[in-house]
Symmetry: D2
Subunit: 424 residues, 4 copies
Amino acid sequence: MNRSLLRSVARSAQAGLPIASRRYASSSVTFNWEDPLAATELFTEEELAVQDTARQYCQKRLMPRILEAYRNEDYDRRILEEMGELGLLGASIQGYGCAGVSTVASGLITKEVERVDSGYRSGMSVQSSLAMTGIHEFGSEEQKERFLPGLAQGKVAGCFGLTEPNHGSDPGSMETIAREHPTQKGVFLLTGSKTWITNSPIADLALVWAKLESTGKIRGFLVERSKCPPGTFETPVIKNKSALRASITGMIQMDDCPVAVENMFPDVEGLTGPFTCLNSARLGIAFGSMGALEDCISRAREYSLERKQFKGNPLAKYQLIQKKLADAVTDAAYGTLAAVQVARLKDAGKATPEMISMIKRQNCDRALQNSRILQEIFGGNAASDEYHIGRHVANLFVVQTYEGQSDIHALILGRAITGKQAFV
Amino acid sequence: MNRSLLRSVARSAQAGLPIASRRYASSSVTFNWEDPLAATELFTEEELAVQDTARQYCQKRLMPRILEAYRNEDYDRRILEEMGELGLLGASIQGYGCAGVSTVASGLITKEVERVDSGYRSGMSVQSSLAMTGIHEFGSEEQKERFLPGLAQGKVAGCFGLTEPNHGSDPGSMETIAREHPTQKGVFLLTGSKTWITNSPIADLALVWAKLESTGKIRGFLVERSKCPPGTFETPVIKNKSALRASITGMIQMDDCPVAVENMFPDVEGLTGPFTCLNSARLGIAFGSMGALEDCISRAREYSLERKQFKGNPLAKYQLIQKKLADAVTDAAYGTLAAVQVARLKDAGKATPEMISMIKRQNCDRALQNSRILQEIFGGNAASDEYHIGRHVANLFVVQTYEGQSDIHALILGRAITGKQAFV
Amino acid sequence: MNRSLLRSVARSAQAGLPIASRRYASSSVTFNWEDPLAATELFTEEELAVQDTARQYCQKRLMPRILEAYRNEDYDRRILEEMGELGLLGASIQGYGCAGVSTVASGLITKEVERVDSGYRSGMSVQSSLAMTGIHEFGSEEQKERFLPGLAQGKVAGCFGLTEPNHGSDPGSMETIAREHPTQKGVFLLTGSKTWITNSPIADLALVWAKLESTGKIRGFLVERSKCPPGTFETPVIKNKSALRASITGMIQMDDCPVAVENMFPDVEGLTGPFTCLNSARLGIAFGSMGALEDCISRAREYSLERKQFKGNPLAKYQLIQKKLADAVTDAAYGTLAAVQVARLKDAGKATPEMISMIKRQNCDRALQNSRILQEIFGGNAASDEYHIGRHVANLFVVQTYEGQSDIHALILGRAITGKQAFV
Amino acid sequence: MNRSLLRSVARSAQAGLPIASRRYASSSVTFNWEDPLAATELFTEEELAVQDTARQYCQKRLMPRILEAYRNEDYDRRILEEMGELGLLGASIQGYGCAGVSTVASGLITKEVERVDSGYRSGMSVQSSLAMTGIHEFGSEEQKERFLPGLAQGKVAGCFGLTEPNHGSDPGSMETIAREHPTQKGVFLLTGSKTWITNSPIADLALVWAKLESTGKIRGFLVERSKCPPGTFETPVIKNKSALRASITGMIQMDDCPVAVENMFPDVEGLTGPFTCLNSARLGIAFGSMGALEDCISRAREYSLERKQFKGNPLAKYQLIQKKLADAVTDAAYGTLAAVQVARLKDAGKATPEMISMIKRQNCDRALQNSRILQEIFGGNAASDEYHIGRHVANLFVVQTYEGQSDIHALILGRAITGKQAFV
C-alpha cells in the first residue's frame, strides 16, 4: 500500500478502460429531461433501433386505441398479431421464429408498450415472458417447435395459470390437482381454479401449473383449449376492474380437464418453473413501469407549462410543482439504469432472482408514488380520463401489486440480506 | 417497420454488443447484499485495485481514530499527508504528481473514506475537488506547477472560500471584494468574510473567490497564508458543531489582505469557476454518501442479527426490520449505479451540471433517510456513539445540506426540466 | 412563581374543571378501534342520535346502490329528496325548514354519507354547504324564504358555479361577466363558463358567481333554470370521470342568460361570498374524508382477518399489515378530533378560515395516503370493485384536490404563519 | 327514522350542548400559529395558570443553562429541587406534598420543560411519572408517606430500573433476580444489571423491578442507596451520548444488594407495575414532544423570516419553506388535541393503554419527522448548536425510541385492532 502502487495502477487503468467507457466519448451531451442520466449511452445501435421500432408502433397504433379500450374494458385481440408481425413477442428468445434480441432490447420494447398502457404491456408480458419463456425454458424440443412459432406470431394467444383464488402471494399452497386418468394411459385430468389470469378468456393455449396427485409436486401443463371437451375448461371474464381495463382478465376453471402427457413439461418440478417465468416477467415490469412513469412525467410537464394560475404564471414556474417533477425525473432515471444493469447481467448469466425482486419492487413503488404526485399537478382535471394520468395511476397500483407485491419482495430481499425468513 | 427489419436488427445486435456487456459474462454471480446489483462488474481491474487500496487504508488507519476525533472535534492534520502518500489526493488529475486515475476510481476512493466518516471525506474533498480541481481547471501553468504537487502530497493544506455568512445558497450575491492596491501595482487587497470553510484553520493555501471591484465580477485568488501580514487573514475555528466533528471548520476573515496578481486565476470570471469546483465535489459526494450508507447498512444488519428480543429471536427475523434493510440496500445499489454512470459520462466529456445535481441530491437524500430509519433498529443503543450509526446520521444531514441543499438542486433540475426558474 | 401559588392554583383547578371533562367520567372505556381516542365522549346525546339516524339511512339506502351507480356514472336524483325527508340537507341552518343542529352534528351526517361514497357526499355538500349556506349567509330575507325550504326538502336541486375552465385555484381571475340588460331594467345578462360543477346537469337552481361589468366585482346570482330562455343556460354533463362517478358533474354555459336583480345577493361583493361557502363545505369535507377512511379501515381489517396466506395465517397476523392498520387508525382518530374541535369553535364564532384550511388539507391528505396503503392489503383483489377500496382511493384523490388542493392550503397556512404570501 | 325525529333531536340538541361548547363562545379568535386549532380553549383558567408558571420557569431558568449542559453532558442536580420548589414534580398526585393538578395541567408542565430540552423533561419524567407514580399507585401507605414528600420536593432523586442490557422492548424477559437472604429474614438480595437508566448516577432512591426467585414473578423494590453496602449497588454513568446530553444516564449494577421487605411493593406482580408507570410517562411524552416540536417551529419560522437569499427575499417567502412550516404546525396542533383528549379521558378513568400507545407513538414520530424537515431550513447553519434545532432533532430520535419504540407501539395497536399479536 504505497504511492507507487497506486500510481502504476492508475497508469494501466487509463489503458485498460473497458470499451463501454470509451463509447461515452463520441460527442457532447446536453441535459435531456427525457433521459437525464443518458442511459441511451449504454445501448447498442441495434438496441436503439429496436426501441425506435417499438415506439413508433406503440404511439401510432396503440395510443389512439387506449381511451376507448380502457373505458369499455375492451381488449383488441388483433394487437397480439400486430406485435407478432413486428417480432415484439418473445423477442429475446433465439430461434423458433423469435427475434433473438438482447434482454435490454426486450426491456426497451416493454417500456414502449407500457408508456401507452400497463394493460397492453400485461397482455404482451403474459404471451412473452410467461407463456413463451416457460415453454422455451422447460418445454421439450417437440413442445418448443409445436408452440413457439404460433405464439411468436401472435396467432396463438397464450396465458399463464398460477394464481388461485385463495393463494396469491403463496403459490406453493395451490390446490389445483392433476391426477392420472383412471382408464386412459398418458392422460392427466386437471381440476381447480385460477384467477386474475390475464388473457385467459381469449387464450388458445394455457400454461397451467398443477400439483401432480401422485407426487404432490407442481408440474406445468400446456392446455390447448381446442382439445378440451365442453365444460372441462372454462375461462369466464372478470369485468368491472378498477384498473388495467385495457387488458382482458379472467379465471380458469378446470373440471377433470384432460391433458396428454406430451403436453406436460418433461422435467421441471416445484416452484422453479413458475418462478423462472415470473422472474422474466418481473424484469420486464421493471422496464415497463419506467415507461408508464415517463409518460406521466411528459404529460405533467406539458400540462404545467400550459396551465396558467395566479397572474398568468404557468404552473411550471412554482417551486412546489418543480419539486414534483424533479423527484419523478430522478426516479425514472435511476430506475432505468438499474433495469439496464440487471438485463445486462441476465444476458451474462449473472442475474439472480433477488436482483429482479429488487428492481421490480423499487421501480414499481417509485412509478406508483411519483405518478400519484404528478397527478396532483392536474388538479381537478385529473378526473378527466382525457389527461391519461389517472389511468396510469390506477394501473400502476396493480402493477406494483401483481407478480409479487412490494412487501413480498421486501421479505425476499430481507431474507437474502439477513439469512432469516420472515414470511411466517 | 416490419418483421424482417427487427429480425435483422436483432441479428446484428448480437454481433455488436459492446464489450462491456460481454464482460459480464465471465463467471457466475450470487446475490451479495454488499453489492446487490453487481456494480463491481462495471469496474476495471485497476479501479478495483484502487478501491482496495483505499479501503485498506481507511479501515486500518482512519477507522481506529474516528471515535475520539468526533467526540473531541479533533482533526488530525497528518491524515492529509497519509492520503497524499498513497496518491489519494486529486487522484483524477493527470500530472503534477497526481495519480491520474479515472473518475470512477476517484469516486471509489471517496466512497471508502466516507464509509468511515463524512468529515474525513470532507477534509479530502476540499483538498482534491475544490482546491486542486480549481487550480487544475483554471490556474495558469505556472500556478499549477507551483501549487499542485504540494497539495497532492498533502504537505500543503488547501481550503476553498466561497460561502459567506449571509450568502449560502446564493453565492452570486457575495460581498467579499478585491480592490487594486492604491499604491502597489499588481497587488489586490481582499476584504470580506467566508464561513463554514472546511480546513480553513489549518490551511496553508486558500482558494478565495471575491468580486473584483473594478468589474464587479467574481474572480479566484490563491491566498498563501505565509505571505499575509498579521491581521489581514484570520481563520478562527468554529467549535461545537453538531455534525462533521471529525473535520475542522472555520471562517476566513480578510481585512485588506494583499494578494499578488500572479495568484489570481488568469481567465475565469463569474460563477463558472466556483461552480466547476463544486460540481467536482458534488460528484464525489454522490459516491461518498453511498459509502456512509453502506456502513450504516452493514452495522444495522449485524446488530439485527446479534440482538435478540421476544423468545430469543434476532431482530433480523422481524418483518418491520427486514423492510428497513431491504429499502436501504436498494437505495444504496441504485445510488451507486447512478454515480458510476455520471462518472463515466464525465470522463467522456458528457456529464452536465444537472446530472451532478441529480445524483448529489438523490444520493444524499436517500443516504440520510435510510440511515435514520436504520438507526431505529438500534433502539436506545443508538444513543451510544460506539455503535457509530448516530454519527453517520448527524453527518449525513450536513452532507445533504452543503454544496447545494436538496431543495436548491430540485430547483436546478426543475429549471432544466421546465425551462422556468423558480428561485425567486 | 412559588410553590404555594401552584398549590392554590391546583386546588381551584379541581373545583373548576369544565363540565365537559366531568362528562368523561361516567363509565369505563375499553379500546375501540372504530373510535380509538373516544371522540364519542365529546358528543351530546343529541349529536349521537343524529349520527345514528344518518348512519342507518346511509348503510340501508345508499350502500346498496353505490356499486352500480359508480360503475355506470349514474346518480339517482331521488337521493336528494330522501335526504331532505330526513332533514339532512342544510342541517345546521336555523329555520326555513332546516333542522338547525350543531355544526358537529352536521359534520357527523357528512361523515356517514362519505363512509358510503365521496360522490354522494359531494352531491349533498353542494346542496347544503354551497348553495344553501350561500343563500342563508348572503341572501335577502325574501331570497331565503323563497329558496331555502325547497332546497331543504331536496325538491329543488341546487348547484354552485364558481370554478372556470381556466381558473381553478385562482377564482379571483374569473371571466364570467354579468352586464346590465341594454333595455330591460333590473335584469342582468350572464355570460361565461363554469366547469366541474357537481349537480349542474340536474340543478333547478344555480348559485353562480360572476363579475359585475360595471364594477368589476364578483357578485352572486341565483339562476333559476326554469326561467332561462333556451340556449342561454346549458349544463352539459361531464362523463368518463376517473372518480366520484356516483355524483353527477357538468359544466354551466351561459350566453346572455337573463337574471333578475331580485336574484342577486344584495350586499356581498368579491371573494367573501364564495369563500364563505367553500369554508363551510371544507369543514364538511374534513369530517367526510374521515368517514371514507374509516370505511377503508373497516374493510381492510376484515379482509386481513379473512385472507389466509403462508401456513394458514391470516394477513392480520403479519407485522407489515398491522403497521398499515395502526397508521390508518391513528390518522382517523386524530383527524376526527381536529374536525370536532373546529366545528365547536365555529358554533362559538371562533373558527378562522385558516383552521378550516388546515383540517381540510390534513384530513384529506391522510385519508388519501392511508387509503392507498390499506389498498395494498387487498393485493390483486383490490382491482375488483366489489371490495370498494379502489373506489374510495380514486374518490379521495379528487376530494384532496377540489375545494383547495393540498398545496394551495399549504400556502394559505404558510401565509398565515409567516405573514408572507408565496402564491406568485 | 323520519323528519320529525331529526327535528326534535335537533331542537333538544341546541338546549343540551355541553358547557364546554358554550365556553368556546366567549370572544373572537384570530388564527394563531402558536396555537392553530385553539387548544387553549379546552383548558381551565387554572390549567392555563399552571402552564404559565411552568413556562416562565423553563424559559428563565432552564433555557440559559441548556447550551453548556448539552455540550458538556452536564446535568445540574439542583434542577430537581427548583422544580420541586414550584410543585412541578409528581404534580398530578393528590396529597403527600404534591400539587394535585389535572392530568392536562401536568401534561402542560411537561410540554414546557421539553420545549427547552427533552433531556430536562426526561429527568423530570423519571422522577414524576416513573418513580413517584409507581410509589403512589403500588406503594403501601407507609411507603408513600416515607418517600413521596422528599421526591416531590426534589430533595430525593429517584430513578426507575426496568430496562436491561439484553432486554429493551421485551422487559418480561428480565434477568435481574431477587432472592431471599439465606440468613436474614425479611431481606431480599437483588442481583442484575439495568441500563439506560436516566438519573441513576445521582439517584438516592431507585425503583427497581426484579423477578422474585421463589415465584418467578416481577416485583418492585425501592432501593435506598444510603442503605446499600459498598459494592452491592453501583450506578456508573454512560458518557458520550449522541443525544439527551443534558440528562444524566447510567447503569444500575446490583450484586446481592440487600433490600428490606418493607421496601417491596406489597401487591403488584408481573408487568402491571412497570407498565402502569410507563403509561404515565408515555402520556407525558405525548405532551412533551409537542413542546419540542413547537420550539423547532418557532425557531425555524424566525430564521426563515430573518435569512435572506436571492434578491433579498426572506426564506419565508418561498413555497418549499412554507410547506415545511405548514406541515409542522399542523402536526403540532393535531398532536396537542389528541394528548389533551387522552389526558381528560385519564382523569375520567377512561384512558386505555392502547390510547397512550397511539399518542406516544404518533406525537413522537411527527415531532421527529417535522423537526428534521424544519432543520433543513437552517441549511449549513443547522450544524451550529447555537440554533438549537440540531439538539432537538437528536433528542427527539431518542424520545421516539425509548419507552416503546414506534414499531413496538404499532404492534400494540395492531394487536388491539386485529386481535392478533405479531411480536413473534
